[in-house]
């Protein structure tokens, strides 16, 4: 992986927004080379998912797992907001995942999950990402909440 060029000018807000947008492309395309360009080598993912190794390579493996586990995994960016060195992204994860219970009906909608991420940018790369996903909604949809 290349070392970031520290002589690069400070990215514009538009460039930061584009950097934030590119973060989600591999979820949809499976082309993980994007992360070699946009993530710093010591990028921090806060928090790591269960079983995820730190750094870009650990994240690539986790995204691949998402794509293999959840059918039709697609991320749509709903809102992107940029200020200083931070980019906030609200997204919706779409999939063709459907309930596997006997109460499933043809009118049931495929699963959707809202997410929110804060990316911190330095020297033209994402150095830190904090994220929140509505996993409660996912497990509720799947009928997988203990005690329910």
């Amino acid at each position: 992986m290349d070392t970031p060029d520290t002589t690069l000018p400070t990215p514009t807000a538009q460039a930061k927004e584009e950097l934030g947008r590119q973060f989600y492309l591999p979820f949809n395309t499976g082309d993980f080379s994007t992360y070699d360009r946009i993530l710093a080598p010591d990028w921090i993912d806060d928090l790591l998912s269960p079983g995820q190794q730190p750094g870009p390579d650990g994240f690539k493996a986790k995204v691949l797992e998402f794509r293999q586990t959840i059918p039709g995994y697609q991320v749509t960016n709903d809102e992107i907001l940029v200020a200083d060195n931070k980019v906030a992204v609200h997204s919706t994860v779409h999939s063709t995942l459907r309930k596997s219970t006997s109460v499933t009906s043809p009118t049931d909608r495929p699963f959707e999950m809202r997410t929110c991420d804060f990316h911190h940018i330095d020297l033209g790369r994402i150095v830190y990402t904090w994220h929140l996903e509505n996993f409660y909604g996912l497990f509720q949809y799947l009928g997988a909440l203990p005690g329910h």
Binding site: E79, L81, V82, A83, K86, V87, A88, H90, R114, C116, F118, W130, L132, E133, N134, F135, Y136, G137, F139, Q140, L145, P146, G147, H148
Partner: protein, 140 residues
């Protein structure tokens, strides 16, 4: 007062103080759209949104304390990430009161128009809260 963050702060302080009389100065009370992902769907009108907030969050989770972690402010919107903690005193996510002090993270995205809040989208770490409430009690 023109900054989205200033408008957001004024809204929050008036709401927490119960200052209904002056709330309309910073919130579009009729057109206000609100959602709390996982707890309530989109509603229109401040009264409906506040009733959802009261029923779904303020009643079951008492003695709140919040700390702002990150603020990102745009021209007509502001996103705020906070750490929150409260005591679980009534049924929440189907879990009866445990009396536990729970901590979680929450993101609020607010849109403003003509000096007033017109939209609020809140996302709590419901899964984190649920796991905390369902965890076996620690052995003394």
């Amino acid at each position: 007062m023109t900054s989205p963050l200033e408008i957001y702060n004024a809204w929050q302080s008036r709401q927490m103080a119960g200052d209904v009389e002056h709330l309309g100065e910073v919130v579009d009370l009729e057109g206000f759209r609100d959602i709390c992902i996982g707890l309530s769907d989109w509603t229109t009108g401040y009264q409906a949104a506040f009733e959802n907030l009261r029923r779904n969050i303020l009643i079951p989770l008492a003695d709140w304390h919040t700390t702002v972690e990150t603020i990102i402010e745009g021209q007509d919107s502001v996103v705020v990430r906070q750490r929150a903690e409260a005591t679980h005193v009534a049924d929440f996510l189907g879990v009866p009161a445990t009396g536990r002090r729970v901590r979680w993270e929450v993101v609020t995205m607010v849109k403003v128009k003509e000096g007033r809040v017109v939209e609020n989208c809140t996302m709590l770490d419901l899964w984190g809260i649920y796991q905390h409430l369902m965890a076996p009690p620690l052995q003394q």
